[in-house]
């Protein structure tokens, strides 16, 4: 892996990612009804994302840290821009049209938030003092609140979680955690009544599938039937009758795990979980052995956020969590999330590969 090292890549992690992505293509082929053009498009996205990953891995850790606040500031400005333009138009507005490409600033923030919190915490000692904890929370909540009014509750939760993971890894004291929980409990009712009626309705739907039978509720029930009817060995690739015949509108994106589980059964599910655990575990080991507090915090929090994505998606598809619009990382059809993920892995590899350079 000499060339890999020169490119600041990590062999085991790269192999894990490639296997997962290839598996994703296989599942998408089935979920899309054996549509070659859908698969080709996803393959192209994967290729572009890998190029971005390699490019990001070349950024030196020092530059990454130095420019974290800049990236964060740009992200906040773009989020505000999206809201302003969205107010001019109507309905949901998450995209910024840059002429050639459409770009979702909230995706940038998935990197920006953990980076800026890690940057903030390494400016003073770790574990952080309470004042720093509050500042870090503020930096997390600003972009999250900009995203939640888009409205995109799922991504907003992910942003908050990624910030909290950095704090957790930095050794935040348990009494601070308790204080935060207490504060949230105190503020929650107030926030609830500050919401518009339709926003409240939206959140309630998350917990009561039957309130929206044409949408998420129906999906939840159908996907559980699909998963459950697979048994231990599954129905076989391309043979998932429930996924193919039933009305699951998002079977290529958020609900792709239902297709996978129906066709590959519990054995496939176990393999998939192990693959994800391998990727997350490898990243945690890299965080463990790397040098520099910034690298350690950022690698660790990106890895944990990745795992959190997997957990939330599998949890919602298998019916132990409410339906939030979170794709299954590296498997679901779609470009932006794949790009962000690969950029995150690029950061992880780059930081780890040059650990000796980081004081």
């Amino acid at each position: 892996m000499f060339s890999g090292r020169r490119l600041h890549l990590d062999g085991p992690l790269l192999i894990g990612l490639l296997v997962l992505s290839a598996l994703g293509l296989v599942v998408i082929f089935s979920a899309s009804g054996e549509n070659w053009s859908v698969m080709a498009r996803q393959g192209l996205r994967l290729g572009i994302s890998l190029v971005v990953m390699v490019a990001v891995a070349q950024v030196s850790p020092e530059n990454l840290r130095r420019f974290s606040p800049h990236l964060f500031a740009v992200g906040v400005i773009l989020l505000v821009a999206v809201l302003v333009m969205g107010a001019a138009g109507k309905g949901v507005q998450r995209w910024l049209d840059l002429g050639l490409v459409r770009f979702q600033p909230s995706e940038l923030m998935k990197l920006g938030v953990p980076m800026v919190v890690a940057w903030l915490l390494t400016r003073s000692q770790v574990p952080p003092r309470f004042a720093i904890v509050l500042l870090a929370l503020a930096l997390t909540l600003i972009p999250a609140s900009l995203v939640v009014v888009q409205p995109d509750l799922g991504t907003a939760i992910m942003l908050v979680v990624s910030g909290l993971f950095v704090l957790f890894l930095a050794g935040i004291r348990w009494q601070h955690v308790l204080m935060m929980l207490a504060a949230v409990t105190a503020v929650a009712p107030y926030l609830w009544f500050r919401l518009q009626e339709y926003q409240r309705q939206r959140i309630l739907t998350l917990f009561d599938p039957w309130a929206d039978p044409m949408g998420s509720g129906y999906q939840a029930i159908q996907s559980q039937i699909a998963i459950g009817s697979a048994g231990i060995s599954g129905k076989g690739w391309l043979a998932g009758s429930q996924s193919h015949l039933e009305f699951i509108p998002e079977r290529s994106t958020d609900f792709i795990f239902a297709v996978f589980a129906e066709e590959f059964g519990l054995i496939g599910v176990l393999m998939l979980l192990l693959l994800y655990l391998f990727v997350v575990g490898r990243c945690l080991v890299m965080a463990y052995h790397t040098r520099g507090t910034f690298s350690r915090l950022l690698i660790g929090s990106l890895a944990l956020t990745f795992f959190f994505y997997v957990f939330v998606n599998l949890g919602m598809v298998s019916g132990i969590l409410p339906i939030v619009g979170v794709p299954l990382p590296l498997i679901s059809y779609g470009g932006t999330s794949m790009l962000t993920l690969m950029a995150a892995f690029g950061i992880i590899m780059g930081l780890h590969a040059r650990r000796r350079l980081m004081a």
Partner: protein, 629 residues
């Protein structure tokens, strides 16, 4: 931050973070175990329950597509409707040997090559677990024959569905457009939630422009079905809401007369109510049958249509761009009067015009010349020489401002998709797009509607309506009323709010003066369209135009016979009537028709006769047709 300080606290920080990393790893393992136990419950403990659910007893949610709104003309004649038809649908995934199946089905049902070609095209494009349309509009015998044999064909179903149908076919094809199957591009554009169970969407014309009104809202039905997909019972049902019925301002009778008057020529006729802007007729010839597109058109048929030199798919009334020729002379006359020129001032026409310091001759259409003419004579006889001089005197920017205020060079705001704006050239426009200065010779030819100037038949009709209404520019509209088919609640299109104040204040006396000259065109002793104004029961005002398609060499001779047909002049005509209280304004364009007076004006006369005589002597309708039809 000092490097040494950072270095010193490294070990302590590292141990804090490492202990948290270990904790996080354990947490991840615990959560994975939780997921795995849930999946174990689903896939192993409850396996038989879910297997039963999946095999024997589904609860399926079926979308109930809404009924698309009807489109009717102003008198309630149905232009677009939904008829119940039998269709054959195929789920390819369930079919073993597709070719064998097609062969066998073909023995029972008349399958055309086109049907199979479209079906196979969609086969590659859409997922194989979805229903694909094999054959639409089975007749009763075919439907019955297939129904008896349906058990032999797994994956093929006979379904009754509502099919969009345009009873007047090509007569209203260009205005209505058509619906077609939702394509991949449509899917990206449309809100999938609003199109549950809907297979078609408006692609062109009114069907596309008023898609949101026509669509309605899907309902859904929760049904229990058995392993064969048969419905056992309906659990829950929310009915679909049908789309709005749209009443257009078109008068199909007038539309038909205009279409017949155009005959087998290429061209367009637009007639509108000058007071309200309501479009009464909008015809483009040749036309096509929109019914061809509803179920997908085969590549061969489509290629044949687009390769025709006559371009039947093009709605010339809206998208055709033509030099207006002399039809803009009334507007130039207003501009020159506004510039202070005395309309009685006489100009000598020797049959040509020359700019000072130039030897280039600009020819009048009448080679022997009109002699001494004032503005009135110049409009009546369409003297080019007079207007050449007007153009040289006014200059392009003054002319352009008048043309803009009559609605040229910009969209009219008509309720049809992607309306072109046409082109009114200015000196600035030419500098910006061609990096060239504006030449005086271009002033000269712009004044008789040649050169860069491009107008659409709709814009010409609108300008004619503005002359008719003495300077009020209206927005042309097609939708007159929308009606909720369930409640009968109707909503009229607000006309008054749509009209625009003129950009230029036009002198009332000047416009009456110009209208007198336009009346002389129809009824005067020397009027260019006097043959079309003769013995009419009402007074008309009009203006002929003949627009060059090729430029003729300085000493060349325009000889229609020797020119290929597609290079002959376009014939144009604008008119309105009755002169004093206009009820209809019209524009006619006949491509390569030759002279506006000889070809375009008689078409307008036929349309107006129908419009007035049908109204005035409804009883004697057939008699009137004997004379004019």
């Amino acid at each position: 931050m000092a490097a040494t300080q950072s270095f010193n606290r490294q070990p302590m920080e590292a141990s804090v973070i490492r202990s948290r990393l270990r904790l996080a790893g354990l947490l991840a393992l615990a959560l994975s175990a939780l997921l795995l136990s849930r999946l174990y419950v689903l896939q192993v403990s409850d396996y038989s329950r879910y297997q039963t659910l999946s095999l024997e007893n589904h609860i399926r949610l079926q979308a109930l597509p809404p009924v698309r709104g009807l489109i009717l003309d102003r008198n309630g004649v149905v232009l677009a409707r939904n008829t119940a038809v039998y269709t054959l649908q195929v789920i390819p995934e369930k079919v073993g040997d597709m070719d064998l199946l097609l062969h066998e089905v073909g023995k029972l049902v008349d399958l055309q090559e086109d049907d199979i070609a479209v079906f196979k095209k969609n086969l590659r494009r859409r997922p194989s677990f979805e229903k694909h349309l094999l054959k639409s509009k089975l007749d009763d015998v075919e439907a019955a024959r297939f129904a008896v044999n349906e058990y032999r064909f797994s994956g093929v179903t006979l379904e009754a569905m509502l099919h969009r149908d345009y009873p007047l076919a090509d007569l209203t094809g260009h205005v209505l457009g058509y619906v077609g199957r939702i394509s991949e591009q449509d899917e990206a554009r449309l809100d999938s939630a609003a199109y549950q169970g809907v297979s078609h969407t408006g692609k062109l014309g009114i069907e596309s422009y008023y898609e949101s009104l026509l669509l309605g809202r899907s309902g859904f039905e929760q049904v229990e079905i058995d392993a064969h997909g048969r419905t056992l019972r309906t659990i829950n049902r929310e009915s679909a809401i049908p789309g709005q019925n749209l009443y257009l301002s078109l008068d199909v009778g007038l539309q038909r007369i205009a279409r017949e008057a155009l005959g087998n020529r290429r061209g367009a006729v637009v007639a509108m109510d000058p007071g309200s802007g309501e479009i009464l007729a909008m015809v483009s010839a040749p036309a096509y049958d929109p019914n061809l597109f509803v179920d997908g058109i085969s590549r061969e048929t489509y290629q044949a249509l687009i390769q025709l030199a006559d371009k039947p798919l093009l709605n010339r009334a809206l998208y055709g761009r033509y030099s207006p020729g002399s039809t803009i002379k009334p507007i130039m006359a207003l501009a020159t009067m506004d510039a202070g020129v005395n309309p009685q001032e006489r100009v000598f026409c020797p049959g040509w015009f020359m700019l000072p310091d130039s030897t280039r001759k600009y020819r009048c259409w009448k080679r022997t010349g009109h002699g001494s003419v004032n503005l009135h004579d110049a409009i009546e006889q369409s003297c080019d020489t007079y207007f050449y001089q007007t153009g040289a005197r006014l200059g392009i920017d003054k002319m352009a401002s008048y043309l803009f205020s009559f609605g040229f060079g910009k969209q009219s705001g008509v309720d049809l998709p992607s309306e072109p704006s046409g082109l009114v050239p200015t000196a600035e426009w030419k500098r910006a797009t061609r990096q060239e200065p504006w030449y005086p010779g271009e002033d000269v030819i712009t004044a008789i509607g040649q050169g860069f100037l491009l107008t659409t038949p709709l814009q010409l009709a609108r300008a004619s309506a503005m002359l008719a209404s003495r300077g009020r520019l209206v927005k042309p509209t097609l939708l007159r009323r929308q009606e909720n088919p369930l409640t009968g609640q109707a909503q009229e299109t607000q006309v008054d709010a749509l009209s625009e104040a003129p950009a230029l204040a036009i002198n009332e006396k000047d416009i009456e003066w110009v209208i007198r000259s336009m009346t002389a065109v129809m009824h005067g002793r020397r009027g260019t369209a006097r043959a079309s104004g003769r013995r009419s029961a009402y007074r008309m005002a009009g203006k002929t135009g003949t627009a060059q398609v090729v430029s003729i060499a300085q000493d060349g001779e325009y000889d229609a016979k020797s020119l290929r047909e597609t290079l002959r002049d376009h014939a144009l005509f604008i008119a309105f009537a009755p002169v004093d209280h206009p009820k209809i304004a019209i524009a006619v364009v006949v491509e390569n028709g030759g002279s506006g007076a000889a070809v375009a004006a008689p078409i307008a006369r036929k349309v107006m006769d129908y419009f007035f005589l049908k109204r005035l002597h409804r009883a004697a309708l057939t008699g009137a047709f004997g004379v004019f039809g």
